[in-house]
Amino acid sequence: MTSVPQSAPARVVSNRRLNPEIHELVLRLPAEWGPPEPGQFVQVECLPANPFILKRPFSIARSRLGDLGMELHLVYGAIGPGTEALTRRRPGEMLDVIGPLGHGFRPVPGRRPVLIGGGRGVAPMIALADGLAPNYEDGILIFGARGSAQLYELEEVPYPVTIATDDGSVGFHGNVIQLLEQLRGRGELRPEENALYSCGPNPMLHALSDWAGEHGFPCQVSLETIFGCGFGICAGCAVPVHAAEGEESDEFGHYRFACVEGPVFEGHRVDWEGVKE
């Protein structure tokens, strides 16, 4: 059952750089908070109270209920004012956090999971691996990155990790689609036996959805777009989708609110032409 979202103060447990582009923030929330489902996200106060700035959405990379409360791991890149400010938060400081929010991944029954994370998009793949592992033993996790500088160590992930880098500096030389194609060619991936789950840059998700559609793989993707609120009141996070089979125009025309009905969507339902990349 999905947990009711709450707004709660979180204590910064640690905040460290994983590689030149990626940071990890560990937060501690009250034990009653959550628990989140894989693919859900939180809205985080990046700056202390005074200057006005919206909260920022981050996928939950890991959640663990411990003696001191619910620990959340977030993995983030410092790309603008909000995330830059986040890098300056120190252990002990308090941040307001809203969550768990959104519609996460829905395991496809009986299918071997293939988790594909691009760059910092690997974050929710960790949570998903944690969530699936008890029921789906033989999953794999593919970590795609531009090069070695964009990689970081994935600790205690229950699935074997395969790395693909664009520059070939580590692991497979090529992007994640090329790697998937190779695995498919070798018969290690089959449309009727596997399910794909992914998070990463929109162009990657677009290409992946096309590839999955072409070959008949079920494929769920966690999409990023600009959020205002994160819980359905601003209508800012519209994602264009194709009408489902036989479906007429509905409540929101053919836009879905990524924060409520996503961030995870079936790859083929997304109208990628309309997604800002």
Binding site: F52, K55, I98, G228, F231, I233, C234, E251, F252
Partner: protein
């Protein structure tokens, strides 16, 4: 223990339990996560602007943050007035909070039809006529820039509506007071001031606007001093009951609008950052009144001392 200060206010013929409402389009249909938003403790909820047909709204990107502000171009995405009435309203009513339905359209007939669908519908306290949306090309802002067409809309809706009308004014005019007066004379019982300010942001790398439509509406704390000046002008020029709106983020901000004479306020963008901001503002106002030894909010409304 001292008594809790009385927060109830009259806006025209209506009474609200507190002067802190939430603004149209910034609180969904009011029913999204009411625990998170504290919706049950609000003075009132103004719905997303409803149109006669459902609208899918504008293409993404719809939001762009600017210093202390938010540019939006939602394009009035909404389920349409009928589905609102049949599917959203029953749940919304359960919150037990006064409901103001915002209606919009491209031509006076659209407003009239929307109002007809809400005729005699239980639980709707007032209609807010949005003649000021900056993100719909065909109508919206144009209505309010021409006072006569704004008035025509109010007059037409007045004939069919069974509840008081509020006219939501655009700040993008030289003389908001004049537009307000014309709307009041046409039958608006109260005036909501203000909607968003027309703003723009461009990406110098792509040479394209951050919002695909080019311009958007600016809201948030950045506009608070501008909105306050517009509200004061509206109060001063029209003498009508005014509902203040624009950039309110704290109790102190809300109090400023009440002091210059707004009879209630609407809280907008800040709810995106702090879901129960309106509730916290209400609490802050209670504390202020207690601290100042005032029996209720009416003792503060309109107490502004303008310069001689």
């Amino acid at each position: 223990m001292s008594e809790r200060p009385d927060l109830s206010v009259k806006v025209g013929s209506l009474t609200f339990p507190t002067p802190i409402l939430v603004a149209s389009g910034t609180f969904g249909y009011g029913t999204e996560s009411p625990e998170l938003t504290g919706a049950r403790e609000l003075g009132g909820i103004v719905t997303k602007t409803l149109t006669i047909e459902p609208r899918r709204g504008n293409a993404p990107i719809r939001l762009h943050e600017t210093p202390a502000g938010l540019l939006n171009s939602i394009g009035l995405q909404n389920v349409g007035v009928q589905r609102f009435r049949d599917e959203k309203l029953p749940k919304l009513r359960e919150l037990g909070v006064p409901i103001v339905a915002s209606i919009g359209g491209k031509a006076p007939e659209d407003f009239v039809q929307a109002a007809e669908h809400l005729r005699d519908v239980p639980g709707i306290a007032a209609l807010e006529i949005n003649v000021s949306c900056p993100n719909v090309k065909e109508g919206g802002i144009e209505f309010c820039q021409r006072p006569d067409s704004a008035a025509a809309v109010i007059r037409a809706v007045r004939d069919v509506a069974t509840v008081p009308l509020w006219a939501k004014l655009s700040p993008n005019v030289s003389h908001i007071g004049e537009v307000g007066r014309v709307c009041r004379d046409a039958g608006a019982e109260a005036l909501t001031a203000v909607n968003t300010f027309v703003g723009m942001s461009v990406d110098p790398r792509t040479r394209q606007p951050h919002l695909p439509g080019g311009t958007g509406g600016l809201s948030g704390p950045a506009i608070r001093p501008l909105a306050l000046a517009k509200v004061w002008e509206t109060v001063r020029v029209t003498g009508a009951p005014v509902v203040g709106c624009g950039g309110i983020a704290t109790a102190e901000d809300a109090l400023q609008f009440l002091v210059v004479g707004a009879r209630a306020v609407q809280v907008g963008t800040v709810s995106f950052r702090i879901p129960d901001a309106a509730r916290r503002i209400r609490q802050g106002i209670e504390e202020f009144l207690s601290r100042e030894g005032l029996p209720g909010i009416e003792s503060l409304i309109g107490t502004y001392q303008p310069p001689q």
